[in-house]
Symmetry: C2
Subunit: 243 residues, 2 copies
Amino acid sequence: MENKVYVVGMGPGDAGLMCQRADETLKECDVIIGYTVYVDLLRDRYPGKEFLTTPMTQEAKRCRMAFEEARKGKAVGMVCSGDAGVYGMSGLILEIGEEYPEISVEVIPGITAALSGGAVLGAPLTHDFAVISLCDRLTPWETIESRLYHAASGDFSICIYNPASKGRPDHLKKACQILQRVLPGDRLCGMVENIGRDGEKTRLCTLKELENAEVNMFTTVFIGNSATKEMGGRMVTPRGYKI
Amino acid sequence: MENKVYVVGMGPGDAGLMCQRADETLKECDVIIGYTVYVDLLRDRYPGKEFLTTPMTQEAKRCRMAFEEARKGKAVGMVCSGDAGVYGMSGLILEIGEEYPEISVEVIPGITAALSGGAVLGAPLTHDFAVISLCDRLTPWETIESRLYHAASGDFSICIYNPASKGRPDHLKKACQILQRVLPGDRLCGMVENIGRDGEKTRLCTLKELENAEVNMFTTVFIGNSATKEMGGRMVTPRGYKI
């Protein structure tokens, strides 16, 4: 393959949920670069590759590393969990790519947690939905609050990424309180942890119960819209078809 | 495989953008059921299968067909373009599945147009986003208007599905006018037609220009958030990393 940077969405972790083009691309790459935790999931699947990692908060450095490797004539796969775009590295790669105009960039999509987690829970996102991250490392909390408020006001189903981390254990509680300015406390919600990986767990609960739910950085949270209901233990948002 | 209904997201059409579990599942199914246009894309890829189709507006009938085939002891793949959930059949299958409690249902996600189209355009959805369909066959137009308004008010990037069809050629124009109650006319927008298929086309333009853009049922439209910019011909929504 050409010396090029491929931004590759690897899906939730399970090889079966990676798209075939992503798999073929990583097989052809000389170097695979990513956040330590995700790259460790790939070492056995792509033997003989060079692996480079940087910890979280080193994203710009990781992108420059990718372009520097491509400059040496290598095909470089920059891997992202889920999709390459959704809270992924494709944006930063294209921004930093302005410094490396001779290196081309290709983005290969992947199954983001809204879709893989939705499939595990049933069908929470079959109608209009919003995706919101509660991580305030790069986004002012006021912006996150405003998005929660507007998503609830528009009767969107909502998928929440990064509901908690060590430094911000109470973000989900705060988010649920904002949502309850608009939504009833008995609104159906769902959670999935470790989607498609060992230790996969799901739970359905009300928005009120969600306030005190235990979540971590591997949990994806779903808030139903006004039509969402539980059917046989699954979370289902009808699209409105006449049955 | 068991007699079971598998709701399978087939991605945008290109085999390389289907996830491996979806491909393996369809290979094992006895019957593949779907909307005529999508099933025709699969006939050559899965030789020897029984294919059943119903036209659009026959979705409930299509779901009952799937359960009736499973009742005969077959493994049935109900295919959806993009994801199984996002405007897909997983919700209706789970609803109608209440009539067939002895048949189990498994949902296999796929790459929806927000992700595959986003990858073609660059990185429009790297931050919080909303997905809205302009199809008012099952949703009151007032609900769609309210969602457009709230998504714009929350400064979400917006991905629009079903921007037009023969019966509603002016929906995108009306949507752009609603968005401009909140957003400036020069907001960056993008369009992708026939994602991952023959005749793939992209265009970047302003929200004002989008009002009069030619779109069809195979076009996916992206509206940037306040930070979205054009970089080297691509649509990029920065997540906020310091470069």
